[in-house]
Amino acid sequence: MDSILRGLATYFFLLLIFRISGKRALAEITTFDAVLLLIISESIQQALIDGDESMTNSFLLVLTLIGVNVLMQFLGTRSTKVDKFLNDVPLLLIEDGHIHQDRLKRVRVTEDDILEQARAQFGVERLDQIKYAVLERSGGISAIPKYVSWANPEVSNKVAESPS
């Protein structure tokens, strides 16, 4: 029973701390984040096993962690509230070309971050070429440039009209 309680306490503590840290906490893992992650797992490991190095204990812990995660995911598909608590909601950072500076500040994202993603995804050159930028639930950023045909009907018409 101890193992299960320890597993549950650890799961919900980590869930809480990562939800409080915000979406961007570990969205893009830098070298330092990877090191941090290792240290976190190392520190939590001691509390998790509590000196009991038996196979039964480790299997029970894995079972508890995976089990509660599956259960939470299942509850998330049943209830919007649980889903929002677990996964958060997406947020528009650039809306129809307008940059929501207040939101950028809140979620600790810079214009550079958005541009970087837009460059990587669509080869976008400038911020004003981005129509929408979304901070996804995973913490990643998706950018939709203005010149993508489906984002801008005018462009798609021009493409259709242009002689091949």
Binding site: I17, R19, G22, D50, D83, V89, L91, L92, E95
Partner: protein, 168 residues
């Protein structure tokens, strides 16, 4: 999740929820900040507010930690003041109830003998010179959690009672 159309984009954005979650995040940061301050101060383990002495100014002084942690080493330092011991033995008793909550790692100096009597164990130490301060150290490892009462006494002298909180 309900999709909402914002301009040309379909997104399950929920600004109300977002705002509430930002507030919750703030509250969370403040809470964890306070927790860190409490930890620094010693409310969650070793630190200035945890270090305490029972029986100051009496023949038996006990230095202990008010807040200790499960499976983390704990020290209890006992000082027997000059003249408190008659003869060559210092007899220090600790309540059995507390000793069942901890594992005794070692006692320095090693007691000459240990006697059991009812609800307490009495550690008998040889004293070479009763005219000076005799210091003893008990090293424990808490194996349960919760608040426990500790009673430490000197035979022929005072007995001190204090509480120790063991965090998980």
């Amino acid at each position: 999740m309900a999709m909402e159309r914002i301009g040309d984009i379909e997104l399950s954005q929920d600004l109300d929820y977002q705002r509430r979650s930002w507030i919750a995040q703030r509250v969370g940061w403040i809470f964890f900040g306070l927790l860190m301050v409490a930890a620094f101060a010693g409310f969650l383990g070793a630190g200035p507010f945890s270090a305490a002495t029972a029986g100051e100014g009496t023949p038996l002084q006990v230095q202990y930690g008010r807040f200790v942690r499960h499976r983390a080493p704990v020290e209890m330092k006992i000082a027997v003041q000059p003249g408190a011991v008659q003869g060559e033995e210092a007899r220090i008793s600790v309540n059995r109830e507390y000793l069942e909550q901890v594992e005794i790692q070692n006692v320095v100096p090693e007691p000459d003998s240990v006697e059991t009597a009812g609800d307490r164990l009495t550690y008998v130490f040889k004293v070479a010179n009763a005219g000076e301060v005799n210091k003893l150290t008990f090293n424990f490892m808490p194996i349960t959690i919760g608040q426990h009462e500790v009673r430490v006494g000197l035979e022929g002298g005072p007995e001190h009672t204090f509480k120790q909180m063991i965090y998980p």
